[in-house]
């Protein structure tokens, strides 16, 4: 039974809360960055919330995910504490990685998030291995492997889908197609033009879905996960969505038009759409929506306040930290 069922009032409320939490989280990062409190770079998922929330909501306790450089949404949707994520981004000891990993490398293993990855497609082979592991241990878990449209052109994509295919591994490959890999449009980088269609090359039926429709994402993911869990082998979904912000801090948005961005934001925003759908279907009232928004805002405000109070790691924290066992330093 999935953790969040948006067709129910409680589920709809939970899903909307998480979508707003993600959006507010990303906005809080922008704010911290502009105030010079955040270093490094980060990749925001504003506009893509329905994919993370729809998919992770369709999972069960014990299911695993692997995430990407644009992973804050996946992480939150899979149950992470915003305070600990924020602490990680601020480089503090209460961060999920004790401040060692930062935005691109948040792992929340207790919740089943095996980790974001700074390497495009880097987590795809790891996801296949985790899926094999679940099967060899007789665990019923499904692994969801998030990846971008750009990642689908890496050799790792191919090797992962092929191995998952021949070994029938319980993994759902979830392409979050926000239509650009940094500056390259999917058309200019992807022969054939479709990630979903590539599934056929591996005997996997790929499906393209509207990634900005939370209900649709949830339904498609739930169906795919059920098939995978039932032993049907890997599945592939391509959720079409859009990122409003630049790829990262260095992006001048020269490769797309403002009109394009505006039209997605104004006409297809996943949060707006879900609020409207949930109210129209009677799952939520307008008051519920207001309450959820306020809740997310307060949650984030609190998370930031607590995160900034977390101490910075000290250099001793590095001693022996590269190894779980006997470290280099111990002998050399």
């Amino acid at each position: 039974m999935p953790r969040v069922d948006p067709s129910t009032p409680e589920g709809a409320r939970a899903a909307l809360t998480t979508m707003w939490t993600i959006r507010r989280f990303e906005e809080a990062l922008e704010d911290l960055y502009s105030r010079g409190l955040l270093h490094g770079t980060n990749h925001l998922s504003i506009g893509q919330e329905a994919v993370a929330v729809g998919v992770c909501g369709a999972l069960e306790e014990g299911d695993l995910i692997t995430s990407t450089h644009r992973g804050h949404g996946h992480c939150l949707a899979h149950g992470a504490d915003p305070m600990r994520m924020m602490a990680e981004l601020l480089g503090r000891v209460d961060g999920y990685c004790r401040g060692r990993g930062g935005s691109m490398h948040i792992a929340d293993v207790d919740a089943g998030n095996l980790g974001a990855n700074g390497i495009v497609a880097g987590s795809m082979t790891i996801a296949a291995g985790a899926a094999l592991s679940m099967r060899m241990q007789g665990r019923d878990a499904v692994v969801v492997c998030f990846f971008g449209d750009g990642a689908a052109n890496e050799g790792s994509f191919h090797e992962a889908l092929n191995l998952a295919g021949v070994w029938g591994l319980p993994v759902l490959f979830l392409c979050e197609n926000n239509q650009y890999g940094m500056s390259m449009s999917q058309d200019s980088s992807t022969a054939g033009g479709s990630v979903a269609a590539r599934g056929a090359a591996y005997g996997i039926e790929g499906r393209r879905i509207d990634g900005n429709d939370l209900d649709a994402v949830h339904a498609a993911a739930a169906e795919a996960v059920a098939g995978v869990r039932a032993g049907g082998g890997p599945a592939l979904l391509e959720a079409v969505t859009y990122r409003y912000r630049g790829h990262s801090k260095s992006d001048r948005n020269l490769y797309r038009t403002l009109d394009e961005i505006e039209s997605w934001r104004n006409e297809r925003d996943p949060v707006d759409r879900f609020e409207a759908a949930a109210v129209a279907s009677g799952r939520l009232t307008a008051e519920d929506v207001d309450a959820v928004r306020a809740e997310a805002r307060d949650l984030l405000r609190d998370a930031v306040q607590r995160a900034v109070r977390s101490p910075e790691p000290t250099v001793d924290d590095l001693d022996g930290a590269a190894y779980a066992g006997r470290s280099t330093a111990a002998v050399a």
Binding site: H39, G40, T41, E88, G91, R92, C97, G99, R100, G101, G102, M104, H105, N117, G118, I119, V120, A121, G122, G150, A151, N153, E154, G155, S156, G181, M182, S183, M184, S188, S189, T190, S250, D251, R252, L254, Y255, E312, P313, T314, V315, D317, L318, A321, A322, T328, A329, A332
Partner: protein, 333 residues
Amino acid sequence: MAEVMSTSRAINAAMRVAMAEDPRVFLAGEDIGVYGGAFGVTDGLLGEFGAERVRDTPISEDIIVGMAVGAAITGMRPVIEMQFSDFVVNAMDPLVNQAAKLHFMYGGNVTVPMVLRLPGGGGTGAAEQHSQSLEAWFAHVPGLKVVAPSTPQDAHDLLLASINDPDPVVLVEHKLLYKAEGPVEVRGSLAEVDAAFAGTVPRRTGGDLTIVSYSRGCAVALDAAEALAADGVEATVLDLRSLRPLDLGPVIASVTATGRLLVTHEAPGPVGVGAEVVAGVVGSEAFDHLLVPPVRVTGRDNPMPYAPGLERATIPQVEDVVAAARRLMAEDD
């Protein structure tokens, strides 16, 4: 003639010179076109030379480099950018098993004139997977050449020399140097730069101590030397510039005079370039002139962490070099 410009502009200018002169030269990499590259190094070149010669690629590092090998052995002169040097891990086959070996393995029947630009190093808060200094690997591989400029002028010249070279050259670029400025004489043509020049050069001279580095390490070394000078310790600072081949002659000569050797670089110490410098020097005639054991000041032996304090602790700082140099001076005078 020389004008002040940043390292990234100096590299950009070198690409412009080479492309204007030689139609065989073309660029390829991820987001190098309209985006101008993750660090803006190729900015403007798409407009000037068009999409056939400034080629945005899919996110596919293996074929970016393999494609360059195929183009190079059939008459082109590709100049390739890895968006971050860390991603070259996805292209080690075309680089090491192909580019480095084909000329030798095919009995001299092909040449592989390609340049692979690798923006590397830490200090930008990009963490473990976007901050590595991997040059030791390439310096270990016969068939590759590896250069690592520390000044805008050298970045300009070494890129031109590399493009002019019949062999595959890895250009180690440090991300923190991109914005560093210096006087640059923009060359008029590829031929103005002779590849043979890429040997070790002094950046400062002093009789007490020899400090060797390359890439961004030179700036650290120079700052350390200034701090030491305030104490009356005069260091020679040598910039290797080329890591393969490695030109140890000037290092040996300097150590013969000073008796003290300190090597510093950002990459971790074990089996790094510094080990080769030390081993090469002690294996030479300078051995008899060494007063104290040579010392390495290298990156901490862990992946590059994200938190600013940890990152700083992982990268050798001026004070680390100064402290090591002081210990060297204190020993066994």
